[in-house]
Amino acid sequence: MKDVSLHQLSTLTVIGLLLAFYGGTYLLTLAIKKQKEDTDAFMVSNRSVGFGMGAASMTATWIWAASFYAAATSGYTYGVSGPLHYGLWGALMILFIYPFGRRFRALAPKAHTLGELIHARHGSSSQLILAISNVFGSTISLMVNFTAAGALVAVLSPVPFQVGVIIAAVGVLSYTLWSGFRASVLTDFAQLIAMMTVAILIIPVLLFAMGGPAALVANLDKITPEQANLFSVDAVLNQGAPFFVAVLAYSIGNQTISQRLFAVREDHIKPTFITATIGYGAVVIGLGMIGLMALLVGVEPMNGDMNNLIPQMVSLYLPAGFIMLFFILVIGSLSSTADADLCALSAIMMADVYGKNIAKDHPNPRKMLLIGRLTMVVATAIGVILASLSLDILMMLVFVGALWGAIVFPVIASCYWDRVTNKAFTSAVVAGLAMFCIVRFNLVPLKGAIAVFFELIAAGGGGVVIGLMAFGFFGRRAGLLASAAVTVLLAIYGHDFLRDYRVLTASLTAYGASTIVCIGVSLMSNTRFDFAEINKRIGNYDNRSETDDPTTENAMPGMADARG
């Protein structure tokens, strides 16, 4: 095994790179004309984002700092199939949102957040579940990305961790604060170009610098048969399937994605999502191949930390300039996700909290913008503090993931099935989360009848995941058939088996339990919802003539008293 130290950049170089990156990004946002700023532009760029910018922004947001590290770790751990089981499923989730996204846009063409749609459909409690889950999710994401910045500068230079965290936080806030989502989209484009260019360069250069494919083939016999197998069951069950289930929840529940969905021009949604799917998959799987290459040439991760794999490989085989490119790659990826999180948090506070629950549909647009910007400042400060505390975020991530898993079916069902009620939505989410906790945290031993019970619910959850995907692309009949088939197959083959894969079973249980409760409670009610009401209840917060008068409270027509 090769034990490799990392190439070190000087303090001046690192500070210079950071200043050049964030300074350049900030200068780019100066191109946005400030006088046209309004809440609609601040939150969804007036829904006029085109295909190129939209695809770039979606891809850059979906790729965060952990994407490279985790894909490389997967390649190193599971071998040939490892990068696919990280990148492919993550990419497919972008595609998965597309059919549902079109439905969201059709129901609520003027929405800024998915929470607004759910508020119009069900009222405050369901909306706030979604909003709160997003506040937690985006705050954690901010913390993770700032932490990644601190860790990167600390591992590659003498610059302290804390300095890296603060520079990244201030840098991201500086270019996002004024123009909000518009700045995020514009800078995502530039950041994605940088990221993709670096990825396109690093992968082939690294391969040939280490001796080409022949050098890797010579070591193929040193990896385990499971690692050499493209269809490794081990990789599917431990990496692919849990990740697949987790990102499905992330894609539906996360405001950073739905915000882009509401911002892209409606006729550009399809090409935007397809391009982002392919772009994300190619970059992440490609960089994951560095983990596979490290495995084949016998590189040992420094200090046992898998996050060191890519910088180690670059240090070992490439000139120092490539370490700088790698540095930009990571800073670009974490910044694009962090600015998306700031925009998501500000939109949630502006629309979901202030617009819907404090101003009760009579918001003052200027006050909304102020709330949005203050949210960004506060969120950045919280992100820096949490990153500085070096918290163990696993538990928080687990909870947010479970919450989003429990939300998926109720959200989608609420947009298609007129019988779903507010009570069904909230009770389904609570039940899904509770059942998840029982399995995930081993609150009862998974033995005997209890294990069978949870395996059956998890089988139903698996059916829900596949059924929703089939439904999205092929319609109701295909969805029901796929769901039934997968449920039956998992019930048969998952018996006495799923209990051994607790993470996967817990996630599937969240889906299964929330679906069962949502359907059950909905069927107990005879009320029917008219989906046309959603569009009437969601409007723009800006009325230009009234916005110009700061003393005027702005009302949205048809939104005052309607609740489903």
Binding site: G50, L186, I200, G279
Partner: protein, 44 residues
């Protein structure tokens, strides 16, 4: 030889796809920007 070729293709296909996607995104953005300029509006 065949294994090396397959492995090289498996690793190098991803940067090639990335390059194609990058070209598509840049091309589309240039078109969007020109169109926005003609219509007197901003691209975002």
């Amino acid at each position: 030889m065949t294994t090396a070729l397959i492995l090289a293709s498996y690793i190098l296909i991803w940067p090639i796809i990335s390059l194609i996607v990058l070209a598509v995104i840049i091309g589309a953005t240039v078109r969007d920007t020109r169109k926005a300029r003609r219509e007197g509006r901003e691209v975002v």
